[in-house]
């Protein structure tokens, strides 16, 4: 019975959201595409105040593979509810208005649309408190309770958003206003960790962070239509205290940065280290980031072929790896790399990260790249 009541109340809460006022922290900044890894800079907004508030992406945007990254059709704020630390991890809990998003399974992309009952897009971030490195590939779940009663519990998905960056998120109905206790649980990650991260992030941990869903916090989140929505480019991430999964600029990567290429608006930067993080062997690392904003593009299957004078010297997968210096990357120990070697990168599974509007058409049809190192 209680659940049925939740649904009715939540619909009311949702409609309040759309009318919320503006208290945001990035609404007055011009939305601008960040300089991308190739050095381009694309202004995406003239800074004139947006005209209206509305619930974002309520209207499904047709997915158009090949379109690449485009500026989402709205600007928005999120409310950072709190942070907490446990074990190897620091967590943050945020919310925004409910969102449409797209999940990926293999090469299949499915849209998750906002349901009438949804009150918020709940988001969690998790990072290493020592280095601020965001963990872009682990398991995250949330349990929401109020006064000891279970409201919801779900595994939430890793996803990319232009203004909100990389996060784990999902839409949730809430049974009206109040203070909720959200238990955010992280699983130990299964991807390779190297360097000072070796042996870390292998255990689960959980924190409780209160969530205030009230008129005041709803006023912190809002969205407004954006005239430049749909143009190539991306909004800048909001300025928040939550670390972003932004990868180092190409030239700041460790090792010898040898080449970069682009495939369906993901930029791949190849760097090599003589004494790499795996047994001190020579190491090939490929850092994959979004064309704008340099967000990590996680959870691909990436194969590499390294050819020297027409002969293959390495052929195999590059493993998803988290390293304090290289950050999230795809890497393999190799016998050595010489100037002039040819590196062919082949994406055998597209990034399995879910996408908010503006990313759903990118990283879908990813041709091989051949880079001369």
């Amino acid at each position: 019975m209680k659940r049925r009541q939740f649904v009715g109340l939540a619909a009311g809460a949702g409609s309040t959201l759309a009318l919320a006022g503006c208290l945001g922290d990035s609404g007055s900044d011009p939305a601008t595409a960040d300089a991308d890894a190739d050095g381009e800079s694309l202004p995406t907004d003239d800074g004139t105040p947006p005209a209206a508030t509305l619930s974002p992406t309520r209207t499904a945007t047709p997915v158009d593979p090949g379109r690449g990254i485009y500026i989402q059709s709205f600007r928005e704020q999120m409310s950072v509810q709190g942070t907490a630390t446990s074990g190897d991890y620091e967590f943050a809990l945020m919310f925004a208005v409910p969102h449409n998003f797209w999940t990926v399974t293999g090469d299949e992309v499915s849209e998750t649309t906002i349901e009438d009952a949804d009150s918020i897009h709940l988001m969690a971030a998790v990072w290493d408190p020592d280095t601020g490195t965001v963990l872009p590939e682990t398991g995250l779940s949330v349990e929401i309770a109020r006064d000891g009663d279970l409201v919801s519990q779900e595994v939430i998905y890793p996803m990319l958003s232009q203004p909100m960056g990389f996060h784990y998120g999902g839409n949730f109905p809430l049974p009206g206003d109040g203070t909720f206790t959200v238990t955010v649980s992280v699983g130990g990650t299964n991807i390779r960790r190297t360097g000072a991260f070796d042996g870390r992030f292998g255990d689960p941990a959980a924190v409780e962070i209160p969530l205030e869903f009230t008129k005041r916090t709803r006023e912190e989140v809002q969205s407004r239509q954006l005239d430049r929505g749909g143009d190539p480019g991306a909004l800048r991430p909001m300025d928040t205290p939550v670390p972003q999964a932004v990868l180092p600029p190409k030239d700041d990567l460790p090792g010898t940065v040898r080449a970069s290429g682009r495939s369906d608006d993901a930029v791949f930067v190849a760097t090599t280290l003589d004494d790499g993080p795996v047994d001190g062997d020579a190491y090939l690392a490929v850092s994959a980031r979004t064309r704008y904003n340099r967000f990590a593009v996680p959870a691909m299957a990436l194969d590499a072929t390294l050819t020297r004078d027409g002969e293959s010297v390495y052929e195999g997968p590059l493993r998803r790896t988290l390293d304090p210096e290289l950050n999230y990357h795809y890497g393999a120990a190799v016998d050595g790399v010489r100037s002039g070697d040819e590196l062919t990168l082949s994406i055998t599974t597209i990034p399995q990260v879910a996408r908010h509007e503006g990313y759903e058409a990118a990283f879908r049809q990813m041709p091989d790249m051949t880079l001369t190192l």
């Binding site: 000891g148 009663d149 279970l150 919801s152 595994v155 299957a301 998803r320 599974t349």
Partner: protein, 432 residues
């Protein structure tokens, strides 16, 4: 939870079991129409407390139909240190009452008592090497269950709700007669109930109780399904035999080990975001979906899910389909060297939410095996960590069998002694 006389009969009876107590029993007895309960012959009880297979009905394919109503009483013995002879004779007397009062059958009562590692810590002596009973532990990189470390768990099971309730009252209440037999001693004379958990299993019952948190409001659980997830489970061909899980040597020969988890089920996305074929792929294997092997709740599978055909190329198939099946992953570790199944799973559904009065879909998952490590190995295989390394489409809990939809909240490990040592055994009882 309220016992509302307007509830449909089966829902009323099930609610009575969940509530427990003398009032629930009285209300339940007014509404059952099962006739007289067969009484028991204490000398006709099997030597194994876990002997169910011959005493429960089977479906047309020979699959066991587990008792519809079940109660788990987690108890702590009063006092510290090893229990004395008084406690032993009192408990034995209480259990003997059940032996006399009910036939050993699903239409009578199946019952057992099992002991935890914490119980055996009361003694200076260790368990013999023939018994492997470690403390419960987390078995995946993402679960943080609370461990059940009570001394013992009493399991009551019957197709008759009035019988489990009455047996519960015989052990913990103040009744002087149960099914015509005098009650001379009670479990609660020597122990205190720390946690009472209840559940149900069998076609129809989950559908009737799907108005619980965790199940979509659209009431998607099919009437024919014995479980909330909408499919049959526990096919006889995919279950260990009772012989295979029975300890063969030492003083506890004839016993078994029992891992009991309580798992919260969150089935909104299971039903709303996935179509039938995706559910089949994630519960059984992608091959089951592609070949259309499953119809409806899967009764057409007969006595075997056919999972063994889909174990050789699990990672390759996951790369192709972006998903891996739950049964497929687990089965990889659930076979011994001769190909025999290692675990005997006897899970049942519940709307218990331990720690609150909310109705929340959950699963009590008792598994029997000769050694606890067999369960741990199967659970490890079910985590599919190797598959997440093989393809990023399968994540820690997404597209990875049913892990997205289940949350382990409790786990306890127990030794189910043979009947002769069922009452507060020492770690080294006599061998015969």
């Amino acid at each position: 939870m309220v016992l509302d006389s307007d509830l449909p009969r089966r829902q009323f009876l099930r609610t009575a079991v969940a509530l427990g107590g003398a009032g629930a029993l009285a209300a339940c007895q007014e509404r059952v129409d099962g006739g007289a309960t067969p009484t028991g012959d204490p000398t006709a009880k099997p030597r194994r407390q876990h002997a169910w297979r011959e005493y429960v009905p089977h479906d047309d394919s020979g699959n066991s139909l587990l008792p519809e109503h079940q109660v788990l009483l987690y108890v702590d013995l009063d006092g510290d240190g090893p229990p004395g002879e008084d406690a032993r004779s009192t408990l034995e007397s209480a259990l003997a009452t059940l032996d006399r009062a009910y036939e050993w059958h699903a239409d009578g009562l199946l019952h057992s008592v099992a002991y935890s590692p914490a119980y055996f810590d009361r003694f200076d002596a260790d368990l013999p090497p023939s018994v492997e009973l470690p403390e419960p532990r987390a078995l995946s990189a993402f679960e943080t269950p609370t461990f059940d470390t009570q001394d013992a768990v009493v399991h009551l099971a019957s197709n008759r709700p009035d019988v489990v309730l009455e047996a519960d009252e015989a052990l913990t209440g103040d009744r002087e007669l149960v099914n015509g037999e005098p009650v001379d001693a009670r479990l609660t004379d020597v122990a205190t109930v720390d946690s009472r958990r209840t559940g149900f299993v069998g076609a129809g019952l989950p559908a009737e109780h799907q108005d619980a948190a965790g199940i979509p409001a659209s009431k998607p659980v099919p009437e024919a399904s014995p479980l909330f997830m909408g499919f049959d489970a526990g096919f006889v061909g995919n279950q260990a035999t009772e012989d295979a899980v029975t300890i063969e040597e030492g003083p506890f020969a004839g016993g078994t080990t029992k891992v009991i988890a309580n798992i919260r089920q969150r089935l909104e996305d299971w039903y709303d975001e996935q179509d039938y074929d995706e559910r089949v792929a994630e519960l059984f294997s992608p091959g089951h979906a592609e070949e259309g092997l499953v119809e409806g709740v899967g009764t057409n599978l007969g006595d075997d899910s056919g999972i063994d055909r889909f174990l050789d190329d699990v990672a390759d198939r996951a790369r192709e389909s972006g998903r891996v099946g739950h049964a497929q992953k687990a089965a990889r570790a659930n076979r011994d060297d001769d190909g025999n199944v290692r675990l005997l799973r006897r899970h049942f559904e519940s709307t218990d939410d331990i720690g609150s009065d909310d109705a929340v879909a959950s699963l009590h998952f008792p598994s029997l095996q000769r050694r606890i490590s067999a369960f741990e190995e199967v659970r490890e295989a079910m985590n599919g960590a190797d598959i997440t390394a093989a393809t990023p489409a399968v994540r820690q809990r997404v597209n990875n069998g049913i892990l997205e939809y289940i949350f382990v909240r409790r786990r306890g490990n127990f030794l189910v002694p043979p009947r002769r040592h069922r009452s507060v055994p020492t770690p080294r009882p006599a061998e015969s």
